[in-house]
């Protein structure tokens, strides 16, 4: 009798496992190219989708190398969401090797695209820009929350088309998220408005903040080009130090993945103190300060404000 009860119990447990597994399968598998985009897609999709992110937190999409797991998740996906603007140069190969035939949503469709700023000093001298820059569009559009409103709408449309039964859910989630984005934007605009133009200057090791700077009228200067793997010349470093000395900038940041050594030397030589990390291309791990897009923006902005006070 006891044995019988055990068997029944076991079967029941097994059944619940199976049914929960099939419930998980019922979620739409969606792949997002990198962590920030993954967070936005998850906010829109809510419980109806299961998001897989290819380039994870704290990882650099510029030097991403797909592993078999990544190909597998693309092959299983019903929808692939990318940033576009040349950010995911590797995506075409991944989609091909996964033999993925579904839709690829370009989240940045419809935003006001900004050109990449080539190095200012080079432009003055009439030199060509660095030739490792592919394309002329700046892909870092997510650094402006107003662009993420467009991203959100694109994602809502794509999910609704794929899963019409959930359309109203996606619409609701999207509206909620857009409200949060607008609130963030209003708060940030107010905060930056406290500073005169002359103080709104920042130096980072990664000029991924072109959209951010244009939106909030903050001037970002960088010792390195857009790509993380570019090596600076002595001339660029010298020009930057001269500029810091001349314009008296105190806000110097190390972006979360480029080489810190050089920037430390520059800030030391120019006599400025280093700010914390700014998160440019990737979220932090869940226990870090920037595990979601909204938190990332808020964290970056607070860091910037604290450092600008010293300018």
């Amino acid at each position: 009798m006891k044995l019988f009860r055990h068997i029944v119990l076991g079967a029941a447990v097994l059944l619940t496992h199976l049914s929960s597994a099939s419930a998980a399968d019922a979620k739409l598998p969606v792949v997002a190219s990198f962590s920030i985009l993954g967070d936005i897609v998850a906010n829109v999709g809510g419980d109806r989708i299961a998001v897989t992110t290819l380039v994870g937190p704290d990882q650099d999409a510029h030097v991403f190398q797909p592993a078999p797991d990544h190909i597998k998740s693309v092959a299983r996906a019903k929808l692939v969401v990318i940033n576009g603007l040349g950010f995911e140069g590797w995506m075409e190969r991944v989609v091909q090797s996964a033999n993925y035939r579904g839709d690829i949503v370009v989240a940045s469709n419809g935003i006001a695209v900004r050109d990449r700023v080539s190095d200012e000093h080079d432009a003055h001298d009439g030199h060509e820009g660095h030739d490792h820059h592919h394309g002329k569009n700046d892909p870092h559009a997510w650094q402006n929350p107003a662009n993420i409103v467009v991203y959100t709408r694109n994602i809502v449309a794509a999910l609704s088309k794929l899963d019409p039964a959930g359309a109203s859910v996606y619409q609701n989630n999207g509206d909620t998220y857009i409200a949060k984005l607008n609130e963030l934007d209003r708060w940030a605009t107010q905060q930056f408005a406290q500073f005169p133009d002359a103080k709104r200057k920042v130096i980072t090791s990664h000029d991924a903040f072109e959209y951010f700077g244009a939106h909030y009228q903050v001037k970002f200067l960088a010792p390195q080009g857009v790509s993380t793997d570019s090596e600076p010349s002595a001339k660029e470093v010298a020009n930057l130090i001269r500029q810091i000395r001349k314009e008296k900038i105190r806000a110097v940041f190390i972006e979360n993945m480029s080489s810190p050594k050089l920037l430390q030397q520059i800030s030391k030589e120019a006599g400025v103190s280093l700010g914390g990390k700014l998160y440019a291309d990737a979220l932090s791990q869940a226990d870090g300060p920037a595990p979601t897009y909204l938190k990332l923006m808020r964290y970056n902005i607070e860091q910037l404000l604290a450092q600008m006070k010293l300018n």
């Binding site: 030097v63 793997d229 010349s233 002595a234 470093v237 010298a238 080489s259 050594k261 430390q264």
Partner: protein
């Protein structure tokens, strides 16, 4: 007077205005003083590719240092040094106890070490270009790095001077040294340790390309100029120092990445030496016109 002023503005002012230029120059000169002569010794022993192999072999040690202690220069350097010494010792042991020659066993061991290093780094999570972070840049030399390069350079020059006779005998005639009671393997081991030490110090401060390039290029082209070893040693140091200075100037005025352009300058000297040096192509052509008849 005007000319003197222009020269000062062009050649010295950049170093006066910027500390990073001074540090880069001093680090490069220190490296030239010890690495280039070591490179000459390496070419004597037909171990020219040793430096290149070693630049990969230190990776697991550097990775271990990074994983356990983070970005600390002593940890990365000690880790790299230990890994390099282990690889060299292992390759030496294999060549003494099996039929494999030293270069063959080194080729096998360093590739395994490199693979281990890559696994350790990628297992650690972040997939960023750790090589850029773990190895230095000549423009980013800090005081710590400068002390490391200067210390290693001084130690190497002193040790080389002390061991000169033994090193020389062993390079040219190992059997004589053994017969006369010299301790052959001690010299070999000490010498290789010096090489590892120099490479690791300059990887950490200047980057792998600069370390290997400044060790080997001036050494190879110095052999084209002189028959005697002392002359070759001096020549290689002068060439390395000149390449360092010329490269920094080019990087400053023409805005090209410093490390690579320093190596290209050393490469330029090598190219000129190939053609014009006494043991290069042109003098040889001129010396034997009778061959054509």
């Amino acid at each position: 007077m005007m000319l003197l002023h222009d020269f000062y503005q062009f050649a010295i002012a950049p170093f006066q205005e910027f500390a990073f230029m001074r540090r880069a120059l001093v680090a490069t000169l220190a490296l030239a003083l010890s690495s280039a002569p070591l490179g000459v010794m390496l070419t004597l022993r037909r171990m020219s590719l040793f430096g290149e192999a070693l630049s990969h072999a230190v990776l697991p040690g550097v990775a271990a240092g990074f994983i356990f202690f983070g970005l600390s220069l002593p940890a990365l350097s000690i880790g790299g040094f230990l890994a390099g010494v282990i690889v060299v010792a292992l390759a030496g042991w294999i060549s003494r106890h099996t039929e494999l020659k030293e270069d063959a066993s080194l080729a096998a061991v360093y590739v395994v070490a490199l693979a281990l290093g890559v696994i350790m780094i990628s297992g650690h999570g972040t997939q960023l270009d750790l090589l850029h972070i773990l190895f230095g840049n000549v423009l980013g030399v800090d005081t710590e790095g400068l002390l490391l390069v200067a210390g290693v350079s001084s130690l190497s020059v002193l040790l080389m001077a002390g061991l000169y006779r033994g090193l020389l005998l062993e390079s040219f005639d190992p059997s004589y040294l053994a017969a006369s009671g010299g301790r052959n393997t001690i010299y070999q081991q000490l010498f290789l340790m010096l090489v590892v030490l120099n490479l690791v110090a300059s990887f950490q401060t200047l980057g792998t390309l600069m370390a290997v390039g400044l060790m080997m290029l001036p050494a190879v082209s110095a052999r084209l100029w002189h028959d005697t070893l002392p002359a070759q040693l001096v020549n290689s140091t002068v060439q390395a120092a000149a390449a360092g200075y010329a490269g920094l100037m080019l990087s400053y005025y023409a805005s090209v990445p410093s490390g690579p352009v320093i190596i290209v300058c050393a490469g330029g000297f090598y190219f000129l030496s190939l053609i014009f040096a006494p043991r290069g192509w042109l003098p040889r052509m001129l010396r034997r016109p009778h061959l054509r008849a």
